[in-house]
Symmetry: C2
Subunit: 389 residues, 2 copies
């Protein structure tokens, strides 16, 4: 380990329905904002890692690394990273390691996804390629189906109810009300969640994150570069971890534990030299309401079986002890899958710096964590962020 | 820079028509061979980088990092890398940097592709997603079309003929005759090449690499790990480079120069501390015959305009001064696109170690180079390999 890794700048398009916009256009905007935020010249960038999951399906476009670099106005080695819904989280980690190890001083990371130009059936089919095409998808499984199996098994092992899950959706919508980048800037009630159309039991419509378009970007720099260029970069990545699991849900030891996330969290905390008790705020991968529960338990923020009641008890709300998904989460901020992981980094950086609409809720916070998962958590990446005291 | 990076083991399936085999099966075989070759236990692996380009089209399968790790019997962070036909070359470079920087001692890299289960039109459409979907493909361009533009422009600027190109195909077929891993183990004549059906002028069928299935793998380890475990690993990666260019061919300053390859080569040679004059043998990306010419010029092995006659003059043949594509190249060995870059590493490692069928031709060789390109060289990755003297 050679360098401390500073987040010099972040950028994010509004997440939502922008079906007329290409991924390249959206990433150009997000990256442009990150350059402006960082006050770093484009020609300082030494590498680009760009997360995209379903470009082949949505735009008939693969090979998006060089395309993303060009859209950002950067000439550098540039690679498209696909780890399903964890794509840009993995891009952030690769950028972090490149700077951390001393191989580069400035790396542009981010991601983008275009989804709403596909019909819902086509979008669902595209998303299904993140699960096992042979042993899950051909048998008829979809992601709502897979996560509902995880939820039902959780209920069986630990208890819990649809109403517990509903509080998670309500909380995350509450958090997004004033977030201008969020797809759904409106509050919902527990009754609305419970009365909504069933997607796949126990999930109603409001248990599921939406189809979204959007892009995110971050400029990671070494502490030395930040000092030399007199950058205002108070937030750093203190640790990162990533891990994988058996690909198909049925090959796992348990359907309601996510060991890839456990391991990624252990790695990130070990790298950071701190533990879950030091975390003040978290952005986690709530693609479905149950996913937030599993994330909080994998991160060690709750014991197994305990996170199910956290939202209902108000512990993870904006005024709770451990605010979770102050951005609105995937549920309310939106989930353009390739942009989500770096979007968490962007939002958490602003929360910690004090320039997020919800920053007041965490004004004493120094340390946050992000959790970004791919598929049914066959891959997961965790980052620990810290702001100068 | 902390570690020397040793290639402890390599593996490669035969390239060819294996339409009944999945990518995961083929990569399991290639990785298994690499583990056996390296005598490294699977639980030593700390990271997996896996190149795949068209899984979404061929198998409705994305998110292949964890899937590849599982197929290889490895539990580690695992990421799918897409840089079109340079996917597994980039995977090798990311693994190299991870070990080189001291962040890991053992990394599994490789790639796999399944193509022949698609019809030729569907395969051509899948490949087209490596070019610009908006500005090239919608206008009707295919890869044979794009490279034929590059060839015709080259002829215009420097001279050269279809017959010059034919000698490249003939040479690479000659090299593959005894390579049991090659798709086409037969010699062809200049007349056959010139008489073959035109694909896109100036290219006939034999100017084009085929649709192929296959997988490749390599185990990269630190010199310290190799010493501690008493590994027989005489070949090391001495340098690596990667770069990008404007995505669409029409946005480039020239259609017959490939600056992404120029820059990747410069980076690799600078990293290695040597130059083109030190190269004894090369494996380059001859997806079309003209591509070998452009590669040799970008690598600095020939001056611009000079490489066109290299094959005709016998300079790059098995008994020439600088043998190029002793494996048979993409043309005759085959081109399962996601497997190609690491396949070059596998073949060159064997050539340098002395256990390739064509090793006798380069028994005094100490240093080789690989050149692996994506799209119309919008991305390129170069590696310099060296064997202990």
């Amino acid at each position: 380990m050679v360098n401390d890794v500073k987040i010099a700048g972040v950028g994010m398009t509004p997440f939502g329905r922008h079906r007329e916009r290409t991924v390249r256009e959206m990433f150009g905007d997000a990256a442009g904002e990150a350059f402006e935020d960082a006050d770093v010249p484009r020609d300082a960038v030494e590498e680009v890692f760009f997360g995209n999951y379903m470009g082949e399906f949505a735009e008939q476009q693969g090979h998006q690394g060089p395309l993303a670099a060009e859209a950002a106005g950067v000439q550098a080695p540039a690679t498209r990273i696909d780890s399903a819904c964890a794509s840009s989280g993995v891009a952030v980690r690769l950028g972090y390691e490149k700077v951390r190890s001393g191989l580069a001083d400035v790396v542009l990371v981010g991601g983008g996804e275009r989804m709403t130009n596909l019909s819902t059936p086509d979008g669902t089919e595209a998303l299904s390629a993140a699960a096992d095409a042979l042993w899950e998808i051909r048998a008829g499984m979809t992601f709502p189906g897979a996560y509902s199996l995880m939820a039902n098994r959780y209920f069986h092992e630990y208890g819990g109810s649809r109403e517990d899950l509903a509080h998670i959706a309500v909380k995350n919508h509450d958090h997004a009300v004033d977030n201008e980048l969020a797809q759904f800037q409106r509050a919902i009630s527990v009754e609305e969640v419970l009365d909504a159309a069933t997607i796949c039991s126990p999930f109603g419509m409001f248990d599921c994150s939406p189809m979204s378009d959007g892009a995110s970007a971050a400029l990671l720099v070494s502490d030395e570069f930040a000092a030399e260029h007199n950058l205002d970069a108070p937030v750093r990545i203190r640790g990162a971890g990533q891990h994988s699991d058996n690909f198909a849900l049925g090959d796992r030891a348990s359907m309601c534990h996510t060991p890839a996330a456990d391991r990624a969290a252990e790695m990130a905390f070990e790298d950071a030299g701190i533990g879950p008790d030091d975390i003040d705020v978290a952005e986690v991968h709530d693609c479905f309401t149950i996913a937030e529960v599993l994330a909080l338990e994998s991160l060690g923020l709750y014991e197994p079986g305990e996170a199910i009641s956290a939202a209902r008890n108000g512990e993870t709300a904006i005024d709770g002890d451990l605010p979770v998904n102050l951005s609105g989460g995937l549920k309310a901020k939106g989930h353009p899958v390739g942009a989500t992981g770096c979007g968490q980094i962007s939002e958490l950086t602003k929360l910690l710096r004090g320039d997020h609409v919800n920053s007041d809720a965490v004004e004493d916070a120094t340390t946050g964590v992000t959790h970004n998962a791919g598929g049914t958590v066959a891959s997961c990446v965790v980052h620990v962020l810290e702001v100068d005291g």
